[in-house]
Amino acid sequence: MAFIELSGIEKSYSNHQVLKGIDLDVEKHQVVTLIGASGSGKSTLLRCINALETIDSGTVSVDGDVVSGPGVDLDRLRRKVGMVFQSFNLFPHMTVEDNIAVGPVRLLGEDREGALRRARELLERVNLDHRARYYPDQLSGGQQQRVAIVRAIAMRPEALLLDEITSALDPELVAEVLNIVRDLARDGMTMILATHEMQFAREVSDVVVFLEQGKLLEKGPPEQIFGEPKEERTRAFLRQIVEAGRL
């Protein structure tokens, strides 16, 4: 049984159907990348997995447990599956170290001392230990996003959802964030990421999924999707990306 299993996921906003029956399995330690045009449903799919959005039909299961539908302890699910957003979403009224420690302290019952020490260790790994006492406003976008990743990691999640985490960054800051994701992949973190960084997707992914208008059109290993896509529309999408100089 796969670690994350999506079957028949459908989601509409009022009468606009955004996800039209998505099936996807993600094994433990796998990195799965969602690609597709803007508006194809990547963010919505990720938000449905950790129940930031409720789904209309289908099931989501994580670690063998069905986590969609009524009666599920969503807060517990979300501790297992962390999420990092395009716009960082750090808590602006807290220092960097408190942003990271607040979850472990309040939710995992760790003592503050220990949680702060661990926060600083994690920050050191992303070369930000010297910013522990800063407020988010005082950091660059790349630094904020690194903190946001660390904040998710600090909860010791079993999987991470990354939604276009470099899209809001200036080009020269993208690499510092992607390096961290690369390290996480190497350490065996299970990840689902939506991205427009095709070169990166090709490098870290085990599986690449092409979404179009809420449908999973094609999926396969990166060499196949980027090298010899079966679907004409996948090819068209990749052509556009190449023309935009992103591949």
């Binding site: 938000r47 807060d75 716009s87 979403n89 808590f91 979850g103 939710l107 407020y135 946001a148």
Partner: protein, 356 residues
């Protein structure tokens, strides 16, 4: 160097400023003298009016001096331009224009200030004698200040109750889900109702109504507690809306971030949304609190002896409103430090998060 653009124009402005300053001096002298001539009953007031006139003329002279330097710089600018020193000419013209604008600002302020004082003195000091009689103010000040402690006590106690109850209402209004619907409905109904009914009516109903109800505890309270109850009930509704607007203005992405870490709805409110919202609501909260302070003066309708009620005793026994002016002044005195304090607090908060 022919490509340098010429200095901005300054002459017209400087001439206008000069004429304005002269007109100001003439006006101050003419109005001041005619008002002074009308003061016949009080030699002190007459002396005061002469001092005011002197001060007005002195400030008028400063204004004229600024206008004259505007003219001087304007002439210098012209001669520098003639000598081909365009950059110097520009600087002089800029100086000239700045002095012209200073003249306008000064003239405006002096005129308004002078006019207000003349208004008090005009007609043989009628306004002064009605509202600002020093002897009556001094005579009533101590008693009124003592009664003002009641206003302060009402404001503080109600203020604390309102901060807590307002927050409860705001959260009740935002409780999610189907199960929360009745609570939401009650909160909305309460807020709508209490914002619609004038505070003075609530006060009147409670102050005169509750004692008639024979309810245990409630009907036995004294007038001051009725006042606190009425003000708290009314202002909680306003404060609930202030909280709600603060909470609503926190970006939804903060909710997403917190929920994605595994925080529950209430934990998210408590740890992330409210702390940020609090900072946003401080200014409107202060306005509401100042309104509450002022409305403590309504309690005279149920017979509580507050500063206004005390002042009315003096006013009716002397047939003069100077004692009521004392109350107004007391309210101003306690309000201004609060607004400055909040400004300072907001600035400090902003500095801490930005520059460190």
């Amino acid at each position: 160097m022919t490509s340098l653009s010429p200095a901005p124009r300054s002459r017209g402005l400087a001439v206008f400023a000069t004429l304005l300053a002269i007109a100001l001096l003439v006006t101050v002298a003419a109005v001041g003298e005619s008002v002074r001539a009308g003061i016949t009953t009080s030699p002190e007031l007459s002396t005061f009016s002469i001092w005011v006139m002197a001060a007005g003329l002195a400030l008028g002279a400063v204004t004229l001096w600024a206008a004259v330097s505007a003219l001087r710089h304007s002439f210098r600018s012209a001669s520098e331009e003639a000598a081909g020193e365009v950059l110097a000419s520009r600087a002089s013209a800029a100086q000239s224009r700045q002095h012209s604008f200073i003249t306008f600002g000064l003239a405006f302020a002096v005129l308004i200030g002078f006019a207000l004082i003349q208004l008090v003195l005009i007609n043989d000091g009628n306004i002064q004698r009605t509202f600002l009689r020093g002897d009556l103010m001094a005579g009533s000040a101590l008693d009124i200040a003592r009664a003002f402690i009641v206003n302060i006590r009402l404001a503080l106690i109600s203020g604390v109750i309102v901060l807590v109850f307002g927050l409860v209402l705001a959260i009740a209004r935002m409780i999610p889900g189907k199960a929360g619907a009745p609570v939401r409905f009650l909160a909305v109904a309460y807020i709508d109702l209490m914002r619609a009914v004038p505070a003075i009516i609530v006060l009147y109903l409670i102050g005169f109504g509750l004692p008639l109800t024979n309810l245990p505890v409630l009907s036995g309270l004294n007038a001051e507690w009725f006042a606190i109850l009425a003000l708290s009930l009314t202002y909680s509704a306003y404060v609930a809306e202030v909280y709600r607007s603060g909470i609503a203005s926190i970006h939804p992405s903060q909710w997403a971030a917190s929920r994605s870490l595994g925080f529950s709805y209430l934990q998210t409110l408590r740890f992330f949304i409210l702390p940020q919202a609090m900072r946003l609501v401080i200014p409107p909260m202060l306005s509401t609190f100042i309104a509450l302070q002022k409305d403590t003066s309504l309690v005279n309708v149920i017979g509580t002896l507050d500063a206004f009620n005390q002042a009315k005793f003096y006013a009716s026994s002397t047939f003069n409103l100077s004692s009521v002016t004392v109350v107004a002044i007391l309210f101003v005195i306690i309000t201004i430090p609060q607004t400055r304090f909040v400004d300072w607090m907001l600035e400090r908060g902003a500095n801490r998060r930005k520059g460190a």
